[in-house]
């Protein structure tokens, strides 16, 4: 944990330096670290033309964790990759993404490279395919450090070792010389997290970092991530399709369906009083080990094809409480309580989901 302490110390030193420069400090709350407005992503190539994100709005404060939850294909990866502008060829991004005061969408290629790593870093779902198989773990971490900081290979390698120790890789020094295929899945994912942390990012993106792992290893990696996130004070966007995982780590939750947020709010509210039928369905499909006889009822049907969305509410074809009006127009994303927004015609009635179904 020595590195964590150093990182924290440096961070606070930097902050106090900034504060003294900007003195007198403003009395108002600092602006959120991440501010995304009306984010739209469309893929347009000779073969396809499809809109994948239909105007997302969210913000994230320093040190907070936002979980994106939704079924496969709902656009979670596209959303987080937009933050890094790491999108498939032919992607057109509209709206605005401000991270730490930087307008990400306006960056030139060299500026974008400078931001990737030190400001925003990402840990991918599949550590097996996200490391280059032909280089050692140590090299791949050290080269990242060297791409952003003027340090020698020796120093960068030492940092790589510290990072591996930070993510609790046993015999870290020896693992520096290991190739990715020589590590177990869990260790590889820890190394991937070490890589993401290598330039002390202010915003960490974790795109289903535990999905590819065995259940027991999943929990270990998740706990490690939560610990690191708190210790380093990073803002984190965490992608998962597992509400149980979100419960472990999230401050805020955004539930995604077909490229839109359908419900967003603090984790407790979402768990205790989901207001969108889709959220309720997701929660219903979670088996919580501490609730004996918990229901397992996956939502019947499949999400619509993004090239052929229904005209009204995207969830209408699968919704058990749909009304005729639902097929007419897309419901607005409505604020029903401070910080709690829902996209459903029934939300305005003020009833919690459980009541509606009764």
């Amino acid at each position: 944990m020595t590195l964590a302490a150093t990182l924290a110390a440096q961070e606070s030193a930097q902050e106090s330096a900034q504060e003294s420069e900007q003195a007198p400090a403003p009395a108002v709350a600092p602006p959120p670290l991440v501010q995304v407005e009306n984010l739209r992503v469309r893929i347009k190539t000779p073969d396809v033309d499809v809109t994948l994100l239909h105007g997302l709005n969210f913000s994230l404060n320093q040190g907070e964790v936002l979980c994106l939850v939704g079924e496969s294909g709902s656009g979670k990866s596209i959303t987080v990759r937009s933050l890094l502008r790491l999108l498939p060829p032919g992607a057109i991004v509209e709206g605005s993404i401000i991270v730490d005061g930087i307008d990400i969408l306006a960056l030139k290629p060299a500026q974008l490279r400078a931001v990737r790593g030190p400001l925003i870093a990402i840990a991918f779902q599949e550590p097996a395919t996200s490391f280059d198989p032909a280089f050692t773990i140590g090299y791949q971490i050290a080269e990242t450090v060297r791409a952003h900081e003027q340090v020698s290979w020796a120093d960068a390698t030492r940092r790589a070792q510290d990072l591996l120790e930070l993510v609790q890789v046993p015999s870290a020094k020896r693992r520096l010389d290991a190739y990715p295929h020589e590590l177990s899945g869990g260790l590889r994912q820890r190394a991937m997290i070490a890589l993401a942390l290598s330039c002390r990012p202010k915003l960490l993106i974790a795109d289903e970092p535990t999905t590819a792992l065995d259940a027991t290893v999943q929990i270990q990696v998740l706990l490690l991530l939560r610990e690191l996130q708190r210790e380093l004070g990073m803002a984190t966007v965490f992608v998962t399709h597992d509400v149980g995982v979100a419960c472990e780590i999230a401050d805020q939750v955004a539930v995604m369906y077909s490229g839109r947020f359908v419900e967003m709010g603090p984790i407790e509210r979402i768990i205790d009083a989901p207001r969108h039928p889709y959220t309720a369905g997701l929660l219903g499909s979670v088996v919580t080990p501490d609730v004996p006889g918990a229901r397992l009822e996956p939502i019947p049907g499949a999400p619509p094809d993004p090239t052929a969305l229904p005209p009204g509410c995207s969830f209408e074809p699968r919704c058990r409480v749909a009304r005729p009006a639902c097929a007419q127009a897309m419901p607005a994303f409505t604020q029903i309580a401070p910080l709690h927004q829902v996209r459903c015609v029934l939300a305005a009635s003020g009833a919690a989901m459980g009541d509606i179904e009764k």
Binding site: F124, T129, A134, F135, H181
Partner: protein
């Protein structure tokens, strides 16, 4: 690493023994008594028997093989039946000439093929990619003989800037000596360049599609560093193709050597077959085969250096 090389060397041993057996058997596959080409027609039966005994033709076959192998290993390939000189004096210079031609051809083919293939992969699907692919296919499928004739017609006959045949005189200056290499090497390199370009293009573009390339971009690496990763990953498969092409060039230069009267092994082998000069045939085939084997071994070792996964996969 050392273990892997030892393992591959062990693998080479039986292949080499097989090759030597085949070369040895050449003597007996040719029609007639192998000794008859050495024994003068008018020799008495006693003299003939003496000659047979002197060459060991009266011993059992396995013993003959071992004797032959021992001589070969100590560098004695016997005497050329057509010139009377030691076979090594004939074969080694020819081998050097072939190697320099094949080596030059392979280098040129590799350089052109890698450059074009990589460019095409990075320009995936665009006009320049399709143009390069078309050139590559044309290069692959052009008949060597025709290409040689056309180039001789243009550069040697029409423009008169390059010599059309031979290797020049011993006293020639460097530039002139080099000029004799140009047309044969160009002819030799065209087909493998096309093949290499095609395979490098597909290897590099497959590599570019792998997830780790996006991960490298996500780390904020500059483009040239990402290219290093792509190159190291693509190097193994590309080397395999290049090594194979080089090996092909070693054996496949017979046509080009004949067209350009290049005094290499192809030329020599052609003459030896014509003259039924068995010792020269044996030595040439054996040396070519050994070069082929060594080239393959080197490719394997290089491949392992580039791809750590090969090491664990083949050991396991």
């Amino acid at each position: 690493m050392a273990g892997f090389i030892a393992y591959r060397l062990l693998y080479v041993l039986p292949i080499s023994i097989g090759v030597s057996l085949i070369c040895f058997a050449l003597t007996y596959m040719a029609p007639g008594d192998p000794a008859s080409s050495i024994i003068p027609d008018d020799a008495s039966p006693e003299v003939a028997a003496q000659i047979r005994a002197a060459y060991g033709f009266d011993r059992p076959l396995p013993i003959q093989y071992l004797l032959w192998l021992w001589r070969v290993l100590s560098g004695d390939f016997g005497v050329s039946l057509s010139t009377g000189r030691p076979v090594t004096d004939e074969v080694i210079p020819a081998m050097m000439n072939t190697l320099s031609l094949a080596g030059g051809g392979a280098l040129l083919a590799a350089f052109v093929g890698i450059t074009l293939g990589t460019l095409a992969a990075y320009r995936n699907g665009r006009l320049s990619d399709r143009a390069i692919s078309a050139v590559g296919i044309a290069g692959m499928s052009v008949p060597q003989y025709w290409l040689a004739m056309v180039m001789v017609a243009i550069f040697a006959v029409e423009l008169g800037v390059l010599p059309a045949s031979g290797m020049g005189q011993p006293g020639d200056d460097f530039g002139r000596t080099l000029s004799f290499y140009v047309l044969p090497i160009l002819t030799l390199a065209t087909v493998p360049a096309g093949i290499i370009a095609r395979s490098v293009r597909s290897t590099v573009s497959e590599t570019l599609q792998q997830e780790f390339v996006q991960a490298l971009e996500a780390k904020g690496l500059p483009a040239w560093r990402i290219f290093l990763h792509v190159a190291k990953n693509a190097a193994g498969p590309a080397l395999a193709v290049i090594g194979l092409q080089f090996a092909n060039l070693l054996g496949g230069s017979i046509l080009v050597e004949t067209v350009f009267s290049w005094p290499g092994t192809g030329f020599l082998l052609n003459a030896a077959i014509f003259m039924r000069d068995l010792p020269v045939m044996q030595a040439t085939v054996l040396l070519l085969a050994m070069f082929f084997i060594v080239a393959n071994l080197l490719v394997d070792i290089l491949q392992m250096l580039f791809d750590p996964r090969v090491k664990s996969a083949r050991r396991g």
